[in-house]
């Protein structure tokens, strides 16, 4: 019963009922009685337009006469009075249909944003005096101890104090591989603990945690309006009053000069008013941007406002940070040099010596060999390397200073800078060249950017020349800047910004917030990273994948296209019908189409912005 009541209150029910009455009235009018038909029309009118009339009266009360609902009410009631019953009802009925579509479109867009936002629990399990309590995440103070069980999401940014587990960070970073955490590891809100129970100490308030920051980013998007949106708002400011004045003239002048009777000229003026309603325009353009922001958000790309779209769409130059942006920020072996022993032996020796170290280079060496030999002792020399004793020999693994310290003979050897040297019993047996690996999708993404019209690509890095050169060659980037301080980076970027139409800077936000802010489009990668980066950037990419860059451009172009299609379509159709109406060729039916028909088509078109474009780059 309540369900039925609920349904009867819905727009759909009102449309159906009003439509039934409308059709019966049409039939009655042709066949039986005109009075009966009028009664049916009025019922249909009240069903479809009741709320609009109420709102129109409210509009009058607050002296907002150019409200679309006011225009619609005037037109509809006016048409009823001059005897055009069918038109009078149709105006309201179509208006209701149009609004229903509008609401549907808006709901879709909101739902897509919300699904992205549903990444963080509202409650946290806090340990107080050894007892676990479930409380609102908002009430948890910094330095509280929380418990997170398998399958649960981390409610607040915290640091693990006990327990080991794999965590799924995909909703925050887009990284699909789980990450292992152990005491000391940092947890961001929104991570999902997959196995194992963790105790953690909170380091932030729930409001300031990673997930909350991302939400507020999306919530505050759109406060900066796009060029297209501002165009429409300022346009409608002049447009509506102008049309109302013309409508008045159209109604009054012809009868005064005896050209038409009053009834006809009022009808023409009403038609004119209906056509003039700016709602198609006013709603469809921001809708396109809502759609674009929503669609992009569901792909892990957060646009910080409508104004960013046009800059992204016209990007001409792209400057990249290197470490963590083009490269993974993880070490990998790129070359092994051996003297007198085999590569397998060398790697086994290095891995075995490093078995107790937790230096990132040690991790990389260990993963290169399955043959770990037992050691009797090992000592780590900070900043240099490791010296390990085996049953039958002693082995030193480390940088050049370690070799010098142990007075290993290095004469006549050509080994690249930054390699890890391996010495056995004081004699150099080889070296391993370790470097940061380039992201697998990087080259393809740069290629896609170029095909999307990017003319200039550049790496701006603080790293050594040979490393930057190697990376730029691997991903085919035109220019490089190396050994740059953050300030030099900024200056170099400024030079690029000044010489091209729209420049994008892509960085991970470590030491490059000024550059993110300076570029026309600052793109911060790996959404949860740095506060200052999120603040300075125009677009935040939640994942670490560079393939989001071409995708972002495609989404921006599609959104801009849609908004212009809407503007041109709505203005074109309206302009045409306005002229026809003035000449007396357009009736109310055409006027209704010009208004709600165009609005619905424009909104449907806007909804395409929600669907991310296919990865078709030509």
């Amino acid at each position: 019963m309540t369900k039925l009541l609920h349904f009867l209150k819905s727009d759909l029910a009102r449309i159906i009922l009003a439509l039934i009455f409308f059709i019966s009235a049409l039939i009655l009018e042709q066949t039986v009685s005109k009075v009966g038909a009028l009664a049916m029309y009025i019922v249909a009118l009240l069903l479809s337009g009741g709320r609009v009339f109420v709102d129109a009266v409210r509009g009058i009360l607050r002296r907002d006469l150019l409200d679309e609902k006011f225009l619609m009410s005037i037109a509809s009631v006016g048409a009823m009075i001059v005897g055009e019953w069918r038109e009078g009802v149709a105006v309201m009925l179509f208006f209701l249909v149009g609004e229903t579509f509008e609401h549907y479109a808006v709901r879709r867009s909101r739902a897509s944003i919300r699904s992205l936002m549903d990444i963080c629990p509202d409650e946290a399990c806090v340990v107080v005096d050894g007892v676990e309590q479930t409380v609102d995440a908002e009430d948890v103070e910094v330095d509280s101890v929380i418990v997170i069980r398998p399958g649960e999401r981390v409610p607040i940014d915290s640091v693990v104090i006990s327990g080991n587990a794999d965590v799924d960070t995909s909703s925050m970073t887009g990284e699909s591989l789980p990450v292992s955490v152990s005491p000391g590891s940092e947890l961001f809100s929104g991570y999902i603990v997959m196995n194992g129970m963790l105790k953690a100490r909170t380091v932030r308030l729930s409001d300031e945690s990673a997930a909350a920051r991302i939400l507020s980013l999306v919530e505050n998007a759109n406060e900066s309006k796009s060029k297209e949106e501002s165009f429409i708002t300022s346009f409608s400011k002049y447009y509506t009053p102008a049309v109302v004045i013309i409508a008045l003239l159209v109604a009054i002048l012809p009868p005064v000069f005896g050209l038409k009777n009053l009834e006809d000229s009022v009808y023409t003026a009403l038609t004119f008013l209906v056509i003039s309603c700016p709602c198609a325009l006013v709603i469809s353009v921001p809708m396109a941007f809502f759609g674009g922001i929503g669609g992009a958000a569901s792909r892990g790309i957060l646009f910080k406002g409508g104004n960013v779209f046009s800059k992204v769409a016209t990007v001409e130059s792209v400057a990249f940070d290197k470490t963590g942006t083009i490269t993974n920020g993880k070490f990998e072996i790129s070359r092994v040099i051996c003297y007198g022993i085999s590569e397998v032996e060398l790697l086994s020796l290095a891995a075995s010596a490093e078995q107790a170290s937790n230096h990132p280079v040690a991790e990389c060496l260990r993963s290169a060999s399955n043959d770990i030999l037992p050691i009797t002792s090992a000592s780590e020399i900070a900043g240099r390397g490791v010296v390990a004793k085996f049953d039958d020999c002693e082995c030193a693994v480390g940088n050049l200073s370690l070799m010098h310290e142990l007075s290993v003979n290095m004469n006549g050897l050509n080994i690249p800078d930054g390699s890890v040297y391996v010495a056995k019993d004081g004699v150099l047996v080889g070296a391993v060249v370790i470097s940061d690996s380039v992201k697998s999708e990087a080259a393809g993404s740069v290629d896609s950017l170029r095909r999307l019209g990017v003319k200039r690509t550049c790496i701006l890095s603080g790293d050594r020349e040979d490393n930057v050169k190697r990376v730029s060659a691997a991903v085919n980037i035109d220019e490089i800047g190396f050994q740059l301080t953050p300030e030099e980076k900024y200056n170099k970027l400024e030079e690029i910004v000044l010489s091209s139409k729209s420049t994008m800077y892509v960085g991970d936000g470590i030491n490059d917030s000024p550059s993110l802010a300076r570029a026309d489009v600052g793109v911060a990668m790996g959404g949860v990273g740095q506060d200052s980066a999120i603040e300075a950037a125009d677009v935040v990419i939640m994942t670490d994948s560079l393939s989001k860059l071409p995708e972002m451009i495609l989404i921006a172009r599609k959104t801009i296209n849609i908004s212009w299609q809407n503007i041109i379509f709505a203005l074109g159709v309206k302009g045409l019908i306005l002229i026809l109406g003035l000449l007396g060729f357009a009736n109310m039916w055409l006027a209704v189409f010009a208004d709600v028909g165009v609005a619905v088509l424009a909104i449907l078109n806007s909804m395409r912005a929600l669907i991310a474009p296919k990865n078709k780059i030509t």
Binding site: R62, E102, T233
Partner: protein
Amino acid sequence: MKIKYTITGLDCPNCAAKLAGQMSNINGIESAKINFLTEKLTVETELDEQQAYKLLSAAATAFEKGIKIEK
């Protein structure tokens, strides 16, 4: 003081902007912003919470039937 509300029942971004404009004109409300997409109303006010809520929800109901404000 900054207060955030959830605002539901708004029809279009245009109405949202109009309502926000009216709310900003209320005595004691310094600024009011409505994000139509996320249905969030953010006001900057010197009034206490109860008073602000009263005035804001009165403005909302006067604007259009069915607009609701919740903390």
